[in-house]
């Protein structure tokens, strides 16, 4: 063995011990994340699409593929989960988000260390009836969520939206303003005004004055709102999809059991994918196109890293 080699081995051992000691010290002091590679380097998918399972089970697979709820919810944080509770209709009608899905999401938030998980919506029918008949209140409470009301103007505060075309200011629910994490859980449906209703349209339930959107340019306002605060995560319930005569009181023959679920941080991408499941090109839905033009997200699914899971 040459002297060089001996020196190299000694060097190697010394450096290893040193690195090891430093690492041990660092881990005792509070974190070794600096040593791991960046999230982006590991390449979690931009969008996860699951099919052929129950909503809550598809969600479990999807969130795992996204890197786990721990990527979005840290210990001690407050989370607001915003499903579609707009209508006083039961889960079998496809008018509101599947309640079992909402329950599973709340459970995962708590498991990831959330301090408090809130569930609410600014409903279209009487809020008490919506919360009861949709069964979302019951299921969310079973998971330990605080189900909060959204029917009183008191809960909303005015904010200004920079860069908005039409929706320059609006009153937003305090839970959206104050919570650490914002999880958007829409259900995919046909909509007789907007075309389809998915993640962006679901955000109409966090503002007080929905009539403003309808009166001043529905599609423009839907896309404008995303300039204010985008959800940290969007989970689209595409299990029982209303294909026509939506968004409520469609005929039973208008519903299709698509049995799928989509997850993404990109609200435009998830809407685009949902549009395709619905059977329409995303560019044809004005608010998706406008949001893409406002650089809120990516409409072109071919550019995205999509994980597809069939159960």
């Amino acid at each position: 063995m040459s002297t060089n080699e001996k020196l190299n081995r000694r060097e190697f051992f010394k450096k290893s011990l040193g690195a090891g000691a430093a690492f041990l010290g660092a881990s005792m002091l509070g974190g070794t994340r600096f040593a791991w590679a960046d999230d982006t380097a590991i390449a979690f998918p931009d969008l996860v699409a699951v099919r052929n399972g129950l909503p809550e089970l598809m969600f479990e697979k999807a969130i795992a593929a996204m890197g786990g709820m721990e990527r979005y919810v840290k210990k001690g944080q407050t989370v607001v989960v915003k499903p579609n509770i707009g209508w006083a209709r039961g889960p079998e009608t496809g008018a509101n988000t599947n309640p079992a899905l909402v329950k599973r999401i709340v459970e995962y938030c708590y498991k990831a260390g959330a301090e408090k998980v809130y569930v609410f919506d600014n409903t279209c029918n009487d809020w008490r009836k919506c919360y009861d008949l949709s069964q979302i209140e019951k299921y969310a409470k079973e998971a330990g969520a605080t189900v909060a009301p959204g029917h009183d103007e008191r809960y909303y505060q005015e904010v200004e939206i920079e860069g908005a075309k039409v929706l320059k200011k609006t009153k937003v629910h305090e839970l959206i303003l104050e919570s650490d994490v914002f999880i958007n859980v829409p259900i995919l449906k046909d909509h007789g005004g907007a075309g389809i209703t998915v993640a962006m349209k679901n955000l109409m339930g966090v503002v007080w004055d929905r009539g403003f959107y309808h009166g001043r340019g529905l599609q423009e306002c839907i896309s404008d709102f995303c300039l204010y605060r985008k959800p940290d995560l969007n989970i689209v319930d595409a299990y029982l999809v209303t294909m026509d005569n939506g968004p409520q009181r469609a005929r039973p023959e208008d519903l299709s059991l698509k049995k799928s679920l989509l997850i993404s941080e990109d609200i435009v991408a998830v809407d685009a994918a949902a549009a395709k499941i619905f059977g329409v090109e995303p560019e044809k839905i004005d608010h998706i196109k406008l949001a893409y033009e406002k650089k809120i997200g990516n409409i072109d699914l071919s550019e995205l890293n999509i994980k597809r899971i069939s159960l």
């Binding site: 052929n52 007789g192 059991l257 799928s260 059977g279």
Partner: protein, 485 residues
């Protein structure tokens, strides 16, 4: 709710109206039971069952506590006023205008005060407490909306309460013995009831304690007489008599009272003829306002179960039970909508509310049968009005921007979407519209592009989707066999 129903069935006027209009359901004989009880025991209805009586007693007690100096004594009766008021009320009711009956009927009177004055105060108090609870994350109760009350309704009821309170403070149960139609009817039976409050002459020491405590002012110690016609059977006099001279016992036969001065009788006769003539003269006037109502610019929307406008306005006493129980607060008291004859009768106002598709509460609890009870499925096909869309006022037709507010909310899809060049235009199908008003409520255009015109006769609508426009999209892939991206 159960106790309230029970008490409601004994309210005189509602039960009577339900009986004479042969409303379906339980045979409404509550008023007959009240009459029988009165003929046996005196006007116990007035002290124990009548809500207006109880309200007056509360005011009476309060006024006594605050004005100790006042010492009420025997009051003389006002039979002329009592008779005249009753005659006009009866004649106008028989001829078709219930305005006076509705205004004076004690149950309806109380109902309006409770629904338009007390309830907002209670809700206001509730809304003060709720934010405190919410600070502790208690969401078990929530804030309630104070339903809109128009200024005229508020003033009317405040004035009525003020006048009532003034009468109570000054003269006790004066209302019950002059204006109240139920009081007048029952006084006829109570005058000769089987069991009465009477003063036993030997035991009485003329201390006048009973005369002073009598809330109806009907005890005259000078004559040692209790006027049974005006006595409301509260029994305070019996309790307070130190010698137990005031007794509640089978009536002893006494000489029938003379009706008095023949000149007085003649005057009463002419007064009666006069009111009769006046009321008859008002018939053509009433017909004119009714015609203007039906052919005028719009027919008011009546709550479901009203059947038709003649039945409704002739049977409703404007008690506002439906107004205060409506969960969406869409039912409001009318001022001019039904003409003067229908003052304060309920009508639907869609400015910021709508009739919930899954609700039939008003039809179930109307005590007079003005709103016939409807099962939910029947109510969902009852056309209380029809939608009318004016395209030149509609934002979508004017600006080619999507809106969809009316399409979104219609429960029967009488308002539906037609797609043209990527824009969703609303179209209406009035045959399947039930007039719930949700479209009118949410329309963002001002003036509104879509409104509901009331139906004078509530017919059955056609079933939802029964003449549906063709399906816009065929679902090429009802199940997802593979991801489309």
């Amino acid at each position: 709710m159960k106790l309230a129903d029970l008490l409601l069935s004994f309210q005189f006027t509602p039960s009577f109206l339900k009986f004479i209009t042969l409303s379906p359901g339980v045979l409404a004989i509550g008023f007959l039971i009240v009459v029988i009880l009165t003929a046996l025991f005196g006007r116990i209805y007035c002290a124990a069952l009548c809500p207006l009586g109880i309200l007056q007693d509360i005011i009476f007690r309060l006024s006594r506590k605050l004005r100790k100096k006042q010492r009420p004594q025997y009051q003389k009766p006002y039979p002329k006023i009592q008779f005249a008021v009753f005659a006009v009320t009866l004649i106008s009711a028989v001829l078709g205008s219930f305005a006076l009956l509705n205004t004076l009927d004690p149950y309806s009177f109380f109902g309006r005060i409770a629904s338009n004055l007390f309830e907002p105060v209670l809700i206001f108090a509730n809304n003060l407490v709720i934010p405190l609870l919410e600070k502790f994350e208690i969401y078990a109760h929530s804030t309630l909306t104070i339903h809109h009350i128009s200024a005229s309704v508020l003033i009317f009821n405040l004035l009525a309460l003020f006048i009532l309170a003034a009468m109570v403070v000054l003269r006790g149960r004066l209302y019950c013995n002059t204006l109240c139609p139920v009081g007048t009817i029952l006084s006829v039976f109570a005058k000769h009831s089987l069991i009465k409050i009477q003063i036993d002459n030997p035991k009485c020491t003329s201390c006048k304690k009973c005369e002073r405590i009598c809330r109806a002012g009907c005890i005259d110690i000078a004559e040692r007489k209790v006027d049974s016609g005006r006595c409301v059977a509260c029994f305070d006099c019996i309790d307070i008599c130190p010698t137990k001279a005031v007794e509640y016992k089978f009536s002893s036969a006494g000489p029938a009272a003379q009706s008095g001065d023949p000149r007085r009788r003649r005057f009463l006769r002419y007064a009666l003829y006069g009111t009769g003539v006046l009321t008859l003269a008002s018939i053509p006037l009433r017909k004119k306002t009714r015609r203007k109502l039906l052919t005028g610019r719009s027919q008011p929307v009546m709550p479901p179960g009203a059947t038709d406008i003649d039945h409704f306005t002739a049977t409703c006493t404007a008690c506002h039970l439906c107004v205060s129980n409506c969960p969406t607060n869409v039912i409001r008291p009318a001022i001019a909508e039904y003409g003067l004859a229908g003052l304060l009768q309920p009508t639907l106002n869609f400015d910021n509310s709508y009739c919930d598709y899954d609700c039939n509460i008003c039809t179930q609890l109307c005590p007079t049968g003005a709103l016939q009870p409807l099962m939910l499925e029947a109510k969902q096909l009852t056309q209380i009005g029809t939608c009318k869309l004016v395209p030149k006022k509609c934002i979508v037709y004017r600006t080619c921007e999507d809106c969809g507010a009316c399409i979104e909310v219609c429960p029967t899809h009488a308002v539906y979407a037609i797609e043209r060049n990527g824009i969703y235009f609303p179209k209406t199908n009035p045959d399947i519209c039930i007039g719930c008003g949700f479209c009118e409520k949410v329309c963002p255009a001002r003036p509104r592009a879509i409104t509901v015109e009331g139906s004078a006769i509530q017919i059955a609508a056609q079933a939802p989707y029964s003449n549906q426009a063709p399906v816009r999209k065929q679902d090429a892939q009802p199940t997802l066999e593979e991801f489309p991206f």
